[in-house]
Amino acid sequence: MGILEIKDLHVSVTDDETQHAKEILKGVNLTIKTGEIHAIMGPNGTGKSTLSETIMGAAAYQVTQGDILLNGESIVNMPVDERARKGLFLGMQYPAEIQGVTNAEFLRAAMNARRLEDDQISVMNFLKELDKNLDLLDMSEEMTERYLNEGFSGGEKKRNEILQLMMIKPSFALLDEIDSGLDIDALKVVSKGVNAMRGDNFGSLIITHYQRLLNYIVPDVVHIMMDGKIVKTGNAELAKTLEVEGYAGLRDDLDLDVALVDEN
């Protein structure tokens, strides 16, 4: 069983121009075990993406306090690729486009990156796995011969993130707004992919604005984040309450002194 622990995490981002460091995460505590799906909801500008990017190791985010432990081992000083090989995966909101590298070739490289030199995946096994997952995600084979994300529509990119997830099989997947820009059919397909991953060896942290996604991927735990902190944790019902009350209502219930970005 795997465990991902976020302990009193404080994260700052430095503005390139002013060199002024701004604290985004102000003491996040969170524990996810494999076998569990957690959702983080929260208003815009509250630090949800910062949390996922910091766990993955994006260079722009500086951990100023606290720790991130994967199976008991601190990963805050590890480079991104090493974190990935230890079992982390970040499904990105805006995946990069890379010309000249086909999807299939990239997938194989990513799968082989976490295997030993003398245990690289055979072409046969790779294609078998690929076909199975393409089928499940309702993707055409042609997608795998296209260049990585190049010219993909928003929906195709998201599907492609899930395809990678299913091929790479990480122990923990951070999914950052995988529902944004998806129509209802695509949302169902993407959810189907994530649900297919559910099991004892897989845990996930799903970041979303909307409860809608959680109708399709029912979380075990829901966290509400505001102003760089988790302010409330509950079960799947919490997301539904939120849908009714809105973030402002919840804030007032909790008697928090937080300004919401999009509040009138």
């Binding site: 991104v80 990069a96 000249g100």
Partner: protein, 428 residues
């Protein structure tokens, strides 16, 4: 010290040509070119100084190259030349029946004198184009002639393989002449590499005469050795409504000047020039890639991408030249260089020479480092930084890779690129 044109006498030169049983007109052309050398200059490559390079040799000799020194299988090629020696010519019977000619240039000059006389250094590159062109014409020692008669189309590319013989002292002065008749459609892939490590110069030209409504796809894969000092000049004369696409993988290991140009002479002519280059160690490479719009409604597109490693230098000049009268024409260009080392020097210069009002012209140029967001994305999937960088670079160069019609040659270029990158990284 005497310069080469002073050292080669007219008598010596004509004797040399006679040994080769050349027709009189060709000998006269050599002698004229030798005279022209006295007043001409090196081609100008902006922001690239190579004045002190020894780009000519006074060694005039017919030299045999021993094919037993080559241990590679070249059977798949249409024509193989090792140094001055033509090893094999393989043209499909079907093409021969349609009148396609593929032979070494000197044989062609004897057997098809009119075709060669009319097209050799008359329509695309004149002997007085520059000093190195006149040297080329005077001291030519090998060549290839490909003629595709009007209305002939074929899919399978013609593969030309040139191997510089650097197992001995022997300058490579080689000319490939390609004449595409009206309404023809075909592809040519030319590969050039070096056998042996003797320091030699290479002066290799390609001329493409693309007649009305022809479609010619050219791919050039250069892989000359590190002890080869190279001057490569390639030019196409593109006729009315003809299309020429030229993809060049400049993968030489030695110092190189590239002088590439496509001239859109006929109305409605179109051309694309795509160049990739990788430089490493202390290598210096300067490349001019130009498209000249002469006819009306002509369209030119230049794309140059380079990766520079170690202490190397790479200059890309993109030259879009729209002459007066070429109304309704377009000239686009993009020149980009990726710096993989802080000690490398890159220069990407768009040069637009426009003497006509009714045109569209655009350019983009950059010299920069690897896109960090792309690296992050690949690394977030577990790929090491080195592998991620290689994939990003290959992607950066991808636009030219995809322009090569043969998968095997594409794969070969990818392999060369990866070898060069690995090699360059080690010496960081």
């Amino acid at each position: 010290m005497k310069t080469v044109e002073q050292m080669i006498s007219a008598d010596e030169l004509s004797e040399f040509a006679r040994q080769n049983m050349e027709p009189d007109w060709l000998i006269e052309k050599r002698l004229l070119a030798c005279e022209q050398m006295k007043t001409l200059n090196f081609p100008n490559v902006l922001r690239f100084n190579y004045r002190n390079w020894q780009m000519t040799s006074d060694l005039l000799a017919w030299i045999k190259s021993d094919k037993n020194l080559l241990n590679c299988d070249l059977n798949n090629n249409s024509l193989v030349q090792f140094g001055q020696t033509t090893l094999s010519v393989n043209l499909a019977t079907e093409l021969k029946q349609q009148g396609v000619i593929l032979t070494d240039l000197f044989t062609a000059a004897r057997d098809y004198p009119e075709l060669v006389h009319d097209n050799f250094m008359t329509k695309a590159i004149q002997t007085d184009d520059n000093f190195l062109a006149s040297y080329h014409a005077a001291c030519l020692t090998s060549g290839i002639f490909l003629y595709v008669p009007d209305n002939v189309e074929f899919k399978e590319p013609i593969e030309l393989n040139l191997i510089q013989d650097s197992t001995q002292v022997s300058p490579l002065v080689s000319h490939t002449l390609i004449v595409a008749g009206a309404n023809t459609k075909f592809s040519v892939i030319q590969q050039i590499h070096t056998k042996g490590s003797q320091a030699n110069l290479a002066n290799a030209f390609v001329e493409v005469i693309a007649q009305e409504n022809s479609h010619v796809n050219m791919s050039s894969l250069d892989e000359l050795g590190e002890n080869t000092l190279a001057y490569l000049q390639r030019r196409a004369a593109v006729g009315r409504n003809a299309h020429v696409n030229w993809a060049i993988g400049m993968m030489n290991d030695g110092d190189t000047v590239g002088n590439f140009a496509l001239e859109l002479n006929g109305d409605g002519a179109q051309a694309k020039a795509k160049v990739v280059a990788i430089t490493k160690h202390r290598q210096r490479v300067g490349i001019n890639t130009g498209i000249k719009n002469v006819g009306k409604h002509t369209v030119g597109d230049i794309l140059q991408r380079g990766v520079i490693l170690d202490d190397s230098q790479l200059v890309f000049n993109g030259i879009g030249d729209i002459v007066h009268g070429a109304s309704g024409s377009e000239s686009e260009q993009e020149n980009r260089i990726l710096m993989m080392s802080n000690n490398a020097y890159g220069n990407a210069n768009p040069i637009l020479l426009i003497d006509e009002n009714d045109v569209l012209a655009g350019h983009a140029a950059s010299v920069g480092q690897v896109d960090q967001s792309q690296l992050y994305y690949l690394m977030s999937r577990g790929l090491s930084r080195v592998l991620a960088e290689r994939l990003v670079i290959r992607g950066f160069l991808g636009a030219v890779l995809t322009a090569i019609p043969l998968k095997t040659v594409q794969q070969k270029l990818i392999k060369i690129i990866e070898r060069k990158l690995a090699d360059g990284h080690e010496s960081d």
